[in-house]
Amino acid sequence: MTFINYAAREINCKIVYYGPGLCGKTTNLQWIYDKTNPQAKGKLISLATETDRTLFFDFLPLDLGQVRGFKTRFHLYTVPGQVFYDASRKLILKGVDGVIFVADSQEARMEANVEARYNLEKNLKDQGYDLAAVPYALQLNKRDLPTAIAADEMYRQLNFKGEPTFEAVAMSGTGVFDTLKSVAKLVLQELKKK
C-alpha cells in the first residue's frame, strides 16, 4: 500500500525484487546503491548469512525527487530466494506496490524460475494481491553467460501478462535501472488511477 503523508508531503512506495535463489536480486540492489548519488539514497541493509545468501531481506531507500510537490521515495526490498525461506518471502510482500521478477538465464535454472514465478503468484494471493493487477516487470538476468538460453524462449515461459521485460547483466549494471524505472512508472501511474 502506498503511504502518502499529506502533512509531510511525502509519498513512499515499496518495490520488491523476487526470484529464485542466486538469480541476482541483491546484485541489482547493490548496483543501484553503488550508482546513486549519496543524497538520494539511504543505507543498504542486508540481512544475509555468512556466505552472503539473503536470510531475511535487503533494503534500500531511494529518494527520487519531487512529483507535484510531493517527495517521492521508493523502498526497494529483495526476498530470500532459497525455497525454504518461503515464510519470510510472504512477509516481505506485505504492503507491496510493485514487483520485479529477476529470472536466471542459465538453462539449468529455468525450472527454478518457473517455480519461483508460481510461488510469487501464490504468495501475493495469500496477501490479498493479484499478480495480474500489481505493477510488475520481468528481468532476464545473466544474459552474458554462455549457458544462457534464448530470450524469446524465456519470455514464452515466464512472461505472465505481457509485462515489460528487460535483458540484464546485473553484475555490470546492464538493464538494472531500466527495470526499476519501468516498475516505478507503473506504480506512479497506478496512483493516478486512485
Binding site: A8, P61, L91
Partner: protein, 156 residues
Amino acid sequence: MYEEEYQQIKEILARLQIDSNSKIVFLVDKNGQQIAAHGDMAGVDATSLASLTAGNVAATDGLAKLIGEKEFSILFHEGERDNIHISLVAQRVILVVIFDEKSSLGLVRLRVKKASQELEKAFEILVRKSEETGSGRFESPFAEITDEDIDSLFSE
C-alpha cells in the same frame, strides 16, 4: 494522514518521550513506513530503523501464528547501553521506544500503555474520517500526474 491528527499524534509521542524519560519515540506502520518520531533522531538512520522494526514485528507475528498465538504485542530488546521496546497499537501501527539507564522497563511499559490508548483513539478518528470523506472528496494530488512528471524523476 491529515494535518490535524498528525499534530495530535506527534503531541502524544512527545509526551510519551518526556514521561517515560526515554531517548527516542517512534511510530511506524506495519509495512515499514515511518509515520512520526520524537526525540534525538540525530545519528539515527530513521528509514532503516522503520524497515527493520517492521521486519522484526512481521517475523515475530509469523512466529506467534506458528504456535497458535494471535500476536505477541510487545517485543523488548535489551542492550548494554540502550534498549528497545516495541509494541503494537490498535493492531495497525508499531510504537518504538528507545531508552537507556535513565529510564526503566517498568516505567516505559506503564507510559506506553497510556500513550497506546490515546494513539488508538486518534487512529480510530483518523480511520472514521477517511471513510467518511472517502477517496472522492479528498482529491489525490496524483490525479493529474503526467508522463512527463514521471519521466522527469528519472532524468539524472
